[in-house]
């Protein structure tokens, strides 16, 4: 009884000490791969943060690419470009989009709003898809048109047969696609609704299709960092859905994935993979974002635990039964990098080093100091699983002072010539990264 009465006092002590002795962030290299270093979770009065100020690319400035590659701006002046998709005829679709806007529930939410504005994340999205036709490969599109307009925070996009599916934040729309068209004006037909609602905290709906085209897979993010908006609004969220393409019937394929921002099939094994953005505010090195294969019926921990069975004490009531089932992800990408796109390389167009594996864009966040991410990496695969250390491919989005940011990489795609396309939603640019041809 005496011990119990003292417990609140003991719990309070860290409050007054943590501002003074907040440990620095560790080396992100320790947190790549299947067995990342995981420090003890901590709670803060002010979580470690660093908000880079968004400054436009000047004329001639561009991200840095690894040896043997060159980079050029394929399109500029876009409205918050996020997802990229290459159609079979080589036309490139750019989804220009941002959050539908969330409501401020707490004093903290107003501060978060000003943080986003400084970092260039609050810009209004175009709510449209722009088409770039770039057949001659000279780095300058011959044609640029508004392909589909008046969408509602679109994100995922996939073509199956002659139907183009666009995942708005609240529904999948189906559009008839005729090869070669440069504009679709007919309204889309709703295939199925997706969890959205008033709050819609993690609003992006990433999407891909199975190889036979019968099923669509949709990543739906949580409605909070760690259930601070109540459990009711998490119904059907933090999950990957399987949608029957013909009927629109859907079910939860896997759950506990906090924010699965990109889903893609590994080309050799046809295994579904996802990159997932993990939770914030328990330390600069927690929790690592990850790349993982997605098992049918699998539970990946959120909100109750992370990286397998590491319990998150911020969730109440806790669920030890679910923690016991939580699957440990395949490959950690280090903490607060915010992976937003997963693109399997499908061959060695850029470099022999990129023959088998996946490009991953790390959008970067402000929930860590020093910052982490803000680059495109390549993770090698062997026998259908990620292995080894990642290779940085496109860097230099962040200023050398670590306090300014010119761009943030989001969507990735390969164009028909095998060049890597990178959408940059702060620089409002699509970058094209290609191999330097011998003799050019």
């Amino acid at each position: 009884m005496r011990m119990t009465s003292l417990r609140p006092v003991a719990a309070l002590l860290p409050v007054f000490t943590l501002a003074a002795c907040s440990p620095g962030a560790g080396d992100p290299a320790r947190q790549y791969g299947p067995d990342p270093y995981l420090p003890e979770a901590r709670e803060y009065l002010l979580p470690p943060m660093s908000v880079p100020k968004a400054i436009d690319w000047k004329a001639g400035e561009a991200p840095t690419v690894s040896a043997g590659l060159k980079v050029e701006a394929l399109a500029t002046g876009l409205e918050h470009p996020r997802t990229l998709y290459t159609l079979p005829n080589g036309d490139i679709l750019v989804v220009e989009t941002n959050s539908p806007g969330t409501e401020a529930y707490r004093p903290k939410d107003f501060i978060a709003g000003s943080v986003k504005a400084r970092a260039g994340a609050a810009a209004k999205g175009g709510n449209r898809i722009t088409l770039l036709r770039h057949a001659d490969g000279d780095g300058k599109p011959e044609l640029r048109t508004v392909f589909i307009d008046h969408l509602h925070s679109p994100y995922g996009i996939v073509l199956v047969g002659d139907t183009l599916y666009v995942a708005n934040t609240d529904a999948i729309l189906a559009f008839k696609y005729v090869p070669g068209v440069t504009q679709i004006t007919s309204p889309g037909v709703k295939l199925t609704e997706l969890p959205a609602g008033r709050l819609d905290h993690h609003w992006t709906k990433s999407m891909t299709a199975s190889a036979d085209g019968s099923k669509l897979y949709v990543g739906v993010g949580s409605n909070s960092n760690i259930t601070e908006n109540g459990m009711e609004v998490e119904e059907g969220r933090a999950a990957i859905y399987e949608v029957d393409r013909l009927t629109g019937a859907k079910r939860i394929f896997a759950s506990g994935t906090r924010n699965p921002t990109s889903v893609a099939f590994e080309p050799q094994t046809q295994q579904l993979f996802a990159v997932v953005n993990e939770r914030d505010e328990i330390g600069p090195d927690l929790v690592p974002d990850y790349l993982t294969s997605i098992r049918q019926g699998g539970f990946y921990g959120w909100p109750y635990s992370y990286w397998g069975n590491h319990v998150d004490v911020r969730v109440h009531p806790q669920r030890p039964d679910l923690v016991a089932q939580a699957i440990k992800p395949d490959y950690a990408l280090s903490s607060h990098v915010a992976p937003l796109s997963l693109l399997f390389s499908e061959g060695q167009h850029l470099s022999p080093a990129f023959a088998d594996g996946a490009f991953i864009s790390e959008h970067g966040s402000w929930d860590r100091s020093p910052l982490n991410g803000y680059q495109v990496i390549f993770v090698s695969f062997m026998n259908g699983l990620p292995v080894g250390k990642p290779i940085p491919v496109v860097t230099g989005f962040l200023g050398t002072d670590n306090e300014t940011v010119h761009g943030r990489p989001v969507g990735l795609a390969l164009d028909r010539g095998g060049a890597l396309l990178v959408a940059d939603d702060v620089g409002n640019t699509v970058w094209r990264v290609s191999a330097i041809q011998p003799g050019s």
């Binding site: 417990r7 609140p8 006092v9 719990a11 309070l12 409050v15 007054f16 709670e43 803060y44 009065l45 002010l46 529930y105 707490r106 004093p107 903290k108 909070s224 960092n225 760690i226 259930t227 601070e228 908006n229 109540g230 505010e281 004490v313 911020r314 969730v315 109440h316 009531p317």
Partner: protein, 163 residues
């Protein structure tokens, strides 16, 4: 007879013209301090945050934790206004001197509540339990003790040195 009776009144010797007797009680050239009401209003909100923290603790319904965060923020803003008015009270001569014990009680509650605002900016359960509700409870005890002595933190000239 009348002259003898008036000499029995002790006031008459120091105030032969009886001016003090003619001034209505409670009026003064010096105005009352401005800050007291804002201390009280801020304290009410900070105390209410303990109530909403307690309900969150028993129900785990997230909106009660949000209420606490807003109550603490608004309570601190009113306390900040009170500090500015307290300075004005001293600058304009409304306040004579500080009631040290009341000041310490309220100042301690305000500092703890400032820390508590940051604790409540955390996400979900641990924004309240255990540190948040503990700070709310301590602030509440301090403010109730202070409130029992009246919300003004100063002796004022208007009341002849009394609170």
């Amino acid at each position: 007879m009348l002259a003898q009776n008036s000499s029995d009144n002790p006031a008459s010797s120091s105030d032969p013209q009886g001016k003090q007797m003619r001034r209505p009680i409670g009026l003064s050239d010096a105005a009352a301090p401005l800050h007291g009401g804002f201390i009280g209003a801020g304290a009410v909100l900070l105390i209410a945050a303990f109530g909403t923290d307690y309900i969150y603790y028993t129900t785990a319904l997230w909106q009660w934790a949000n209420f606490s965060a807003w109550l603490i923020t608004a309570g601190l803003i009113l306390m900040l206004v009170a500090v500015l008015l307290l300075l004005i009270d001293f600058a304009t001569g409304r306040a004579a001197r500080l009631k040290t014990s009341s000041f310490i009680l309220v100042a301690a509650a305000a500092v703890l509540s400032l820390v508590n605002a940051f604790v409540h900016s955390r996400d979900a359960w641990t924004s309240v339990v255990p540190q948040g509700i503990f700070l709310s409870a301590v602030s509440t005890i301090l403010l109730v003790i202070a409130g029992a002595r009246g919300w003004s933190l100063t002796m004022s000239r208007a009341t002849g040195g009394r609170p």
